[in-house]
């Protein structure tokens, strides 16, 4: 208990120091302090946002985007993170208003929240189905059918949201942190395909001796040196 208290006091001091450094435009020092918190196992959207801001101020937009994305995965409803991400890429809206609304709602709920919603909706569905089952043998004065429909809808919504976010995590989302060249094979002897700028996003398809085959958002793909990119969700 004493150790935890001391650790908290130490961490609090470190956060204040980092904030001071940031306010005084000493971004490299602020970054060092924030990274120490990361090393200590602290993970939360605000910490990722602040690290992303430090990198942004230092002009390293690749890493800046990487940390904003990490924070976004933990809390996609965080307005500050959303704003900073919008500087890199504006969210595209679907022309279908229903799908657009659905996407917007899902885009603001994290995988963690969807996990809880899935547990709650499943439990609710199970209870209502059980009541409906019992009603076949015993008279219970309870409007089961409307509630059953609502529970099914709630469960389907939670399941879709969870699946989308889980898919994003499993897709091994990648952000490029340095400008590099994409090749047709896993080394520099292969044909050059395109220049890949910092802060490009894509998904890791395959890995081969320090080279990553990445499918970028634009639909193009290529092998890049893995040191020029980082996984948003580390292994």
């Amino acid at each position: 208990m004493l150790c935890i208290s001391l650790l908290l006091i130490f961490s609090q001091t470190q956060v204040q120091t980092a904030e001071e450094y940031y306010k005084n435009a000493q971004y490299e020092k602020a970054l060092e302090e924030y990274n120490t918190l990361l090393d200590r196992g602290i993970r939360n959207p605000e910490l990722y946002l602040n690290i992303g801001n430090c990198y942004y101020r230092l002009g390293d937009f690749g890493k800046s985007l990487l940390y904003y994305r990490r924070g976004w995965f933990l809390d996609p409803s965080n307005e500050n993170i959303r704003h900073n991400l919008s500087l890199f890429k504006k969210e595209e809206s679907n022309p279908n208003p229903f799908i657009s609304l659905f996407s917007k709602i899902i885009a603001r709920i994290s995988l963690r929240v969807f996990s809880y919603l899935l547990i709650i909706s499943f439990s609710l569905l199970v209870v209502i189905v059980s009541i409906r089952l019992i009603q076949t043998v015993k008279f219970i004065n309870f409007p089961v059918n409307p509630l059953l429909i609502l529970a099914v809808l709630f469960f389907v919504f939670s399941l879709i949201g969870f699946s989308i976010w889980y898919g994003r995590v499993k897709s091994e989302w990648v952000v490029t942190t340095a400008t590099t060249m994409a090749y047709s094979g896993p080394n520099e002897e292969f044909k050059e395909l395109m220049r890949v700028d910092k802060a490009e996003e894509g998904s890791l398809v395959r890995e081969d001796s320090g080279w990553w085959l990445i499918l970028f958002r634009s639909g193009e793909g290529g092998w890049i040196d893995s040191t020029a990119a980082a996984l948003v969700i580390p292994e």
């Binding site: 908290l8 961490s11 609090q12 956060v15 980092a18 904030e19 940031y22 918190l37 196992g41 602290i42 993970r43 939360n44 959207p45 605000e46 910490l47 946002l49 602040n50 801001n53 942004y56 002009g59 937009f61 995965f73 933990l74 809390d75 307005e79 500050n80 993170i81 704003h83 900073n84 500087l87 890199f88 890429k89 504006k90 994290s110 995988l111 963690r112 996990s115 809880y116 547990i119 499943f122 439990s123 199970v126 209870v127 189905v129 059980s130 089952l133 019992i134 076949t136 043998v137 015993k138 995590v169 400008t179 395109m194 220049r195 700028d197 910092k198 802060a199 634009s218 193009e220 969700i233």
Partner: protein, 570 residues
């Protein structure tokens, strides 16, 4: 091309021969020449070891040229120093000096060789040694060698793009009435920048190989070799008209030409860096970008300015790297250059128009640029950029001021950091489903159990029906025999309802007749049976609540109907 000839003040020294026999005199002519020579003193002669000055004479001449309506006048004082060397060897005649209007002038030193038994390298035979300088010029003008063109180059070996100053001089020892160029000089494998093309020839004295001439610059160019092929300077023809004399009043027309020249062009050191195209000199590069905040599909300009000294007008534009997020157009180029000191100075500007294809923060890629430094004789590389621009989506254009300022907002400020560890998925996520699954299992078990129990009861009740029916039928038959009408119909109803209750598990007691019939209809009971049941129930009510007294035969018939219904349903 007609050139006007003028003369200006000069102070020169020349010898009549550069190789002199021992003991033979030679003449050193010191000439002061200009438009106004009032107050000119006699030049002071230097003392020369091994050479004696035998005597000095002075002559004066005035030269007036009237060419194409332009009058020029020049006066010359010529001081002839007769000298003699008694010993063999090489002698240097030091500069003569002259003070005039506060300025000191001096001639170039002259070298002569004194040898035994040689005839002198005179420019004119001793018999015709000048007493009257103008007269002497006219005589010498008959000799074609007295008029010639010289092409002087600043360098004989250069790198591609390295500047070379080429000067074309006209040397004369006579008076000319006209000089005409048939065209500009021609060169091969070079880029040419004009330094000067005088419309009036400015003659001045010049000594070439120790012989004094009048020299005028007729053309000066700055050449930049294109590629590694040797530069060729072609013969440059010039037409001159020599002033006539009593034998040739209209003068003598001649075409003279310079000798061709070749300047060798060296290769650059091998392994030129990838950013090298053709820039050579002492150069610097700088950039200007007009905005870092732009909307998608709107162009912004990136200016690359190359400045300094070098082949600025020849420069190719630095290559803009390909980018999937940007469209770049071929650059426009402008130059602000001038030639001075045999080099091209100034700045060349390349303006690239670039359009973002997508929104967001976009990196304008770094540009590699290399030039060959002529001083260091090596390649020098420079990197410019990268730049980050913020491309706003086009739908934000024309929005309100508030929205525009929102879109231009800087990054969000840092937030207070908590010490929690937020995970992507709750720990032991699948375990949370266990209570619900257990609940479901229990519910299913409960329902199964109830159904099983209910099934047992139904079986038991069905089993009990025959006994109860037998007992009921016996009682009803007894009541027919005793003609106990009311009791008979009460029991008749009771037997029927009990049977329905046991058979269909319906809570028939307390249920209205219509409701009972409706329930039985739901249980797929036939219409005929329903009619009989209704008939039995109506008749029983009528007997019980009215004065109706059915006979024993009717009672037997009703009992028969009951049995028929039970048989049909059982």
């Amino acid at each position: 091309m007609v050139i006007f000839i003028i003369l200006s003040l000069t102070f020169t020294a020349a010898v009549d021969q550069t190789v002199v026999p021992v003991g033979e005199s030679f003449n050193v002519s010191v000439t002061v020449e200009g438009e106004d020579l009032s107050g000119v003193e006699i030049p002071s002669a230097p003392s020369i070891s091994g050479i004696d000055i035998l005597g000095t004479s002075r002559s004066q001449s005035t030269q007036i040229n009237f060419i194409n309506g332009n009058l020029t006048k020049s006066t010359s004082y010529i001081y002839d120093y007769q000298m003699i060397a008694e010993k063999e060897g090489q002698y240097t005649i030091p500069p003569f000096t002259l003070k005039y209007k506060g300025k000191e002038y001096s001639t170039d030193p002259i070298i002569i060789n004194v040898k035994k038994g040689v005839s002198g390298g005179r420019s004119a035979p001793p018999s015709s040694r000048p007493l009257n300088r103008i007269h002497d010029f006219r005589n010498e003008a008959r000799d074609f060698r007295a008029i010639f063109l010289e092409t002087a180059v600043s360098k004989s070996s250069v790198y591609p793009g390295e500047p070379i100053v080429v000067t074309h001089y006209l040397y004369v020892k006579t008076s000319l009435t006209d000089v005409q160029l048939s065209g500009p000089p021609t060169y091969e494998n070079v880029w040419v920048e004009n330094i000067q093309s005088p419309t009036r020839l400015n003659f001045s004295s010049a000594t070439k190989n120790g012989i004094r001439y009048q020299r005028a610059l007729i053309k000066q160019d700055l050449l930049f070799p294109l590629g590694e092929t040797d530069v060729k300077i072609n013969p440059f023809p010039v037409q001159v008209v020599i002033r006539g004399d009593m034998f040739s009043f209209f003068g003598e027309r001649k075409t003279i030409s310079s000798e061709p020249k070749t300047i060798s062009v060296k290769s650059f050191p091998s392994n030129s860096p990838p950013g090298f195209i053709d820039a050579v000199g002492e150069l610097e590069i700088s950039t200007q970008i007009d905005t870092l905040n732009i909307s998608v599909d709107s162009p912004f300009s990136l200016k690359i300015i190359i400045s300094g000294k070098g082949n600025l007008n020849l420069l190719s534009a630095p290559k803009f790297p390909e980018s999937r997020k940007l469209t770049s157009y071929p650059p426009e180029s402008s130059a602000n250059t001038k030639i001075s000191g045999g080099s091209l100075h100034g700045a060349r500007t390349f303006t690239y128009l670039i359009t973002p294809k997508v929104s967001g923060i976009i990196e304008v890629p770094e540009i590699d640029w290399t030039f060959f430094d002529l001083q260091k004789k090596q390649f020098v590389s420079r990197k410019i950029g990268p730049w980050q621009i913020h491309a706003r989506p086009t739908d934000e254009i024309g929005t309100s001021e508030q929205e525009t300022s929102k879109s231009n907002k800087d990054i969000a400020y840092i937030l207070p950091v908590s010490y929690k560890k937020v995970s992507l998925i709750p720990k032991f996520f699948p375990l949370y489903f266990i209570p619900a699954i257990i609940f479901m299992i229990l519910a299913v078990y409960y329902v199964t159990d109830i159904r099983k129990t209910m099934g047992d009861r139904r079986y038991a009740s069905l089993k009990a029906i025959p006994k109860q029916l037998k007992r009921g039928f016996r009682k009803l038959e007894k009541e027919i025999q005793s003609n106990n009408v009311i009791q008979f119909y009460e029991d008749l109803t009771l037997v029927l309802l009990k049977f329905i209750k046991l058979k269909f598990h319906l809570n028939v007691f307390g249920m209205k007749k219509k409701e009972l019939l409706s329930q039985l209809q739901n249980k797929k009971v036939s219409e005929k049976s329903l009619e009989l049941i209704e008939e039995i129930l109506i008749k029983s009510e009528s007997v019980r609540f009215t004065s109706l007294k059915p006979s024993q035969g009717e009672m037997s018939k009703d009992l028969k109907n009951l049995k028929e219904v039970i048989n049909a349903l059982h």
